[in-house]
């Protein structure tokens, strides 16, 4: 009880229906999203990361079209350009770098490395993207239910999270690889050599192991949102459960979901590379950054360019995605200091 509160008796208010204290900040209809966008634009590093990521995505989308129109040739062999005496290493410096083959050639087959990398980005991105979507959707839905329901539902989902997190993920992926791929090959139409069963297997397992962290984070967010009075206000109006979930709570979760998405994407891009290195996922001749790297490691001395360019590409992609994720996180949460 402070001194000032007593002043209430002395202050004389204006009558009803008269517009008062009409000083509104900003221009009309500035949604929180638009404000965040403004903050993001001012952050130079994030903008650079955004441009790189956008470039990468556009390139990945274009690749299949370029292959179709014969602009890039990820499977065309060039045996004449290889040095048979050195075990199939390309002739010339940096793995056979020429104006025709800007990043040189792949040893043993002589395919154009730029073409393979470019086309490989498409597969890597597709795998990372779908796995992220799987993880985000499962994680967000379970997180909302868990955080909002509490009680037994919360406890059950919490145990599911614990169990999933304690599974040796990579080991599982490796151990179940053969059976899993065979299974999907049977279920899905298409030939055995098709990359589809491999891709589906990889996506599902990555996604199924990726959701717990997201579910946990979303649950925490929901717990704090649930305590805010606007949820009570909606309840008090008799809002249905689905209205509470999807109209009141979910719009407040876009920020963390988006941030999680931009953080899990690079994780999955590098996971694809790592798994490719271990021989899980899509196999040659279909290129992915992972299986190119796996092959290139054998040549790290004999043909350094073949190893260097894929590794550099992977590093740039992962770093840019991470920077983008951080930038988005900062822009969406104005209170976080930078």
């Amino acid at each position: 009880m402070t001194q000032s509160e007593s002043q209430i008796e002395l202050l004389e208010p204006p009558p009803v229906g008269v517009v008062v204290e009409d000083k509104v900040a900003g221009v009309a209809g500035q949604s929180p999203t638009r404000l965040a966008l403004g903050r993001f634009r001012k952050d130079r590093l994030s903008m650079i990361a955004f441009v790189v990521v956008a470039f990468y995505v556009v390139a990945a989308i274009l690749a299949p079209i370029l292959v179709k129109f014969d602009v890039i040739h990820p499977t065309a062999l060039n045996p004449t350009l290889l040095n048979v005496d050195l075990g199939g290493v390309p002739n010339g410096a940096w793995g056979g770098m020429t104006w025709h083959h800007l990043l040189g050639l792949e040893p043993r087959t002589g395919t154009d490395l730029l073409s393979r990398l470019w086309y490989g980005m498409t597969f890597s991105l597709t795998i990372a993207l779908t796995a992220s979507v799987v993880a985000i959707v499962i994680g967000t839905v379970l997180g909302i239910i868990s955080g909002f329901s509490g009680g037994i539902v919360d406890a059950v989902i919490g145990r599911m999270v614990d169990v999933t997190l304690s599974f040796p993920q990579t080991l599982m992926l490796l151990a179940l690889s053969a059976t899993g791929v065979a299974l999907f090959a049977k279920i899905l139409p298409g030939s055995q050599s098709d990359p589809l069963p491999n891709a589906v297997y990889e996506v599902l397992l990555l996604g199924l192991f990726g959701w717990p962290g997201i579910a946990r984070l979303i649950r925490g967010q929901v717990l704090s949102i649930r305590e805010r009075e606007f949820v009570d206000a909606a309840r008090l109006l008799g809002a249905s459960r689905s209205r509470l979930y999807f109209k009141e709570i979910l719009p407040n979760l876009w920020a963390p979901v988006l941030v999680q998405f931009t953080l899990i994407m690079p994780a999955y891009i590098s996971a694809e590379a790592a798994l490719g290195y271990l021989g899980v996922g899509i196999h040659v001749p279909t290129p992915t950054i992972g299986n190119i790297l796996k092959d290139s490691v054998n040549y790290s001395q004999a043909d350094f360019g073949y190893f260097f360019f894929p590794a550099l590409l992977l590093a740039i992609i992962v770093v840019s995605f991470n920077l983008l994720g951080d930038g988005i996180g900062d822009a969406l949460d104005p209170k976080a200091d930078r």
Binding site: L11, E12, V24, A28, L237, R243, P251
Partner: protein
């Protein structure tokens, strides 16, 4: 009853000068002719306390509200005052049925809604609404003002979708906001404006009862008066009954002709405004009141000295035995730890729960309640005494009361 800004302008606005010094509304008066729209009887809310182990057993209860009874007259207002954590919000949330009470009766308009199911409550949602304490969290930051104020109309399908915007704009005007701002977001408004948005939302369904949970505590002092005045105007215009929650007595004074003071889940004193402010009988009310600098008393030089309460409010998980206020009461005696004082009616519209009820500096030396409770002055069981049944704790006031001066029953 219809919410229409043109009416409000016709009846109110032109009558009063715009700008400059506008005289405040007269204080709300008690209208005894109206029947209660809300009667709460022995309301209880115990929140279970669970341990944090693997198997979560209930290890105790937060006795947030413990046997509260009161009435709110139709179109009138009752103030509910007490320190932080005494159970005011919980009481409000029980009445709006955000919580289901552990025990007790909530009679709204003649129906006991204490155990209503969600579907039974649905039509009632239109009649009981709430204004929340913190305008920063009570509005969804991702919704426009139009969506917030229009939500009740959509949920209850009261009017066709096409007319929602119109109605929203009317409501914004009623609460003193620019109707053209319907597509702005809450963060674009000041605290006072946000609270007006919350008020508009509560008004949308034209409720009969509004629970205002500290509606101005989060606001600037200069804006508090404006908002209170708005509420008062709305109350008159739309005949809305208010349960007005506040944590100090200064805020409710103007608004509420009747006031209940709560301490640790119980009502310790309830009475009409004049009695409560001029002749409080409970030591706790006296302490609260001593913290309110009184303009009139200052003028006549009779300013009371501030009574400082020692210590903290005890935990509602483990409230003190006997009188819950005894750990901080300046006049507590032996009996206070042993026997709980009943909420005894000591005047026409005045009840107090204290063994030594009396005006400040004039507390009796012997407990006034010992006889009727069947104990001696130290609170030990007295085999010779004949305790009277059902003293206190029914809602409303009786025609008979215990007169403190004569120590006999009196009648109006």
């Amino acid at each position: 009853m219809s919410i229409s800004p043109s009416e409000s302008h016709a009846s109110e606005a032109p009558a009063e000068p715009k700008g400059g010094v506008v005289l405040g509304n007269p204080a709300s008066k008690l209208d005894l002719s109206r029947p209660p729209i809300l009667e709460v009887d022995n309301l209880q809310m115990y929140f279970p306390v669970r341990n944090s182990g693997l198997i979560r057993r209930t290890v105790g209860y937060v006795q947030a509200v413990d046997g509260v009874s009161f009435q709110v007259p139709a179109g009138g207002s009752l103030g509910l005052v007490g320190e932080s954590g005494c159970g005011k919000s919980t009481t409000g949330r029980l009445i709006t049925r955000l919580y289901k009470p552990t025990a007790g009766r909530i009679d709204f308009d003649g129906r006991n809604i204490a155990n209503y199911s969600a579907s039974q409550l649905m039509p009632l949602r239109r009649e009981i609404q709430m204004i929340f304490q913190d305008p920063a969290t009570s509005l969804n930051p991702r919704h426009t003002v139009g969506a917030i104020v229009g939500a009740p109309l959509l949920i209850h399908k009261v009017i066709p979708k096409k007319q929602v915007l119109n109605r929203v704009q009317e409501l914004l005007e009623v609460v003193g906001l620019n109707p053209e701002h319907y597509n702005r977001y809450p963060h674009e408004f000041s605290g006072g404006q946000r609270q007006r948005i919350g008020i508009a939302r509560a008004l949308t369904l034209q409720p009969k009862l509004l629970v205002a949970d500290e509606p101005v505590s989060a606001l600037d002092v200069s804006i508090q008066a404006q908002v209170i005045n708005l509420l008062q105007d709305l109350q008159r215009e739309f005949d809305i009954a208010f349960l007005f929650i506040a944590h100090d007595l200064a805020i409710v004074r103007h608004f509420c002709p009747e006031i209940a003071v709560m301490y640790l889940g119980k009502i310790v004193e309830i009475s009409d405004r004049e009695t409560l402010y001029n002749r409080p009988n409970h030591p706790y009310t006296q302490a609260l009141l001593s913290a309110v600098p009184d303009v009139k008393q200052a003028a006549i030089g009779g300013r009371r000295e501030r009574i400082r309460l020692e210590g903290d409010v005890p935990s509602p998980v483990n409230p003190p035995s006997g009188c819950r206020f005894r750990t901080r009461c300046p006049i507590a005696k032996e009996i206070c730890a042993k026997v709980e004082p009943p909420l005894l009616q000591i005047g026409k519209r005045h009840k107090v729960a204290c063994h030594f009820a009396g005006e400040l500096g004039n507390h009796p030396t012997a407990p006034i309640t010992a006889g009727m409770l069947g104990v001696d002055d130290q609170g030990n069981h007295d085999p010779g005494a004949s305790p009277s049944k059902d003293i206190g704790n029914s809602p409303g006031f009786s025609d008979f009361w215990f007169d403190l001066k004569t120590r006999t029953m009196a009648k109006s």
